[in-house]
Amino acid sequence: MLNKNKIILGLILIIGIFFRFYKLAEYPVSLSIDEVAIGYNTYSLLKTGNDEYGIPHPLAFKSVGDYKSPLLIYQKLE
């Protein structure tokens, strides 16, 4: 039973890896609007220590008004 479960888990991982990396250079064709907004907030933090609206190191980023979570933005500062 354990081996069977391991095989199923392995198959799921292989399928997942295939779809994650298949034509990775071609798809997606561009950054999404969220990704560019996150990138600009990171850029703003790096340049000024403030977010896009001049708020210093916020907990949630107003960004384009949809209030993004901070983890991705702060993580990109590394």
Partner: protein
């Protein structure tokens, strides 16, 4: 307790422009079956797992509490873990016949998504638009300093400004100074530096202005009826179709 609103499970993402479907939310709808099965089993048989589940729920709440006033659903992302936990537990307890039926339905569900991805929608509409915005930003960077104002239509897509800010490396400090109006959910940035987005009531003809419009607008916007102009640049989308024209007004040849 509003945080535990069941609507989270059924929330959907951006609409799919090509086929009218919305995204499938945080989890596929079909997982609702093992979810309820797992929930029932947790209450009846495995109360000791409640501690583990309670830990996951508390863990999920912490970021949501810190960002509670904000409307984005991404603050609730960690609630996915306890939901997946319950689904997995429920799946383990499904009897064989139901499990086979469930897997068949799951394959159909995933097939529909794959069919859309591979055949109906090789490029997501949003991705194609963002690709075009990157090209737009490159061309605007080349031309913007040669003109007093650059007017950009929003007829191709409603909000090119985040891409322009990002790809053009607009100085955040100067942008902070310009942005003074109060924020509402999903605001649209309509001006920075000498770039004005939409606001067509402000558009007037001047040879020191650059107009970035769609080919349709060149025909339909009364501002451009019968004028002499020069096309400074063109932006095409992934299929090669023209989507933006960079128009410079030529008043001298218009004088009689």
């Amino acid at each position: 307790m509003r945080y535990f609103n069941p609507r989270l499970y059924f929330s959907s993402g951006d609409g799919n422009f090509l086929n009218g479907l919305t995204n499938f939310g945080p989890l596929l709808l079909i997982f609702i079956l093992p979810f309820f099965r797992g929930l029932k089993n947790l209450f009846i048989n495995k109360r000791e797992l409640f501690n583990y589940l309670a830990f996951l729920i508390v863990f999920a709440i912490i970021p949501a509490v810190f960002t509670y006033p904000f409307p984005a659903l991404s603050k609730s992302i960690f609630i996915i873990f306890p939901i997946v936990f319950v689904i997995a537990y429920g799946m383990d307890k499904l009897n064989r016949k139901i499990l086979i039926g469930f897997v068949l339905l799951l394959i159909i569900n995933v097939s529909v998504v794959l069919y859309d991805a591979v055949n109906k929608e090789p490029y997501r509409d949003l991705e194609q638009r963002m690709y075009s915005y990157r090209d737009l930003a490159r061309e605007v960077t080349l031309h913007k300093d040669s003109y007093n104002k650059v007017f950009i239509t929003n007829s191709y897509g409603s909000d090119p400004s985040p891409s322009l800010l990002f790809y053009m490396n607009i100085n955040p400090a100067s942008y902070h100074r310009n942005e003074t109006k109060p924020l509402v959910y999903r605001n649209y940035i309509n001006q920075f530096d000498n770039i004005i987005i939409d606001q067509k009531e402000k558009w007037i003809l001047d040879r020191n202005y650059l107009y970035i419009i769609t080919p349709d607008e060149l025909e339909s916007n009364p501002l451009f009826y019968g004028i002499d102009y020069k096309i400074k640049s063109r932006i095409v989308d992934l299929s090669g179709k023209e989507i933006y024209l960079f128009i410079e007004y030529l008043p001298k040849t218009n004088v009689k």
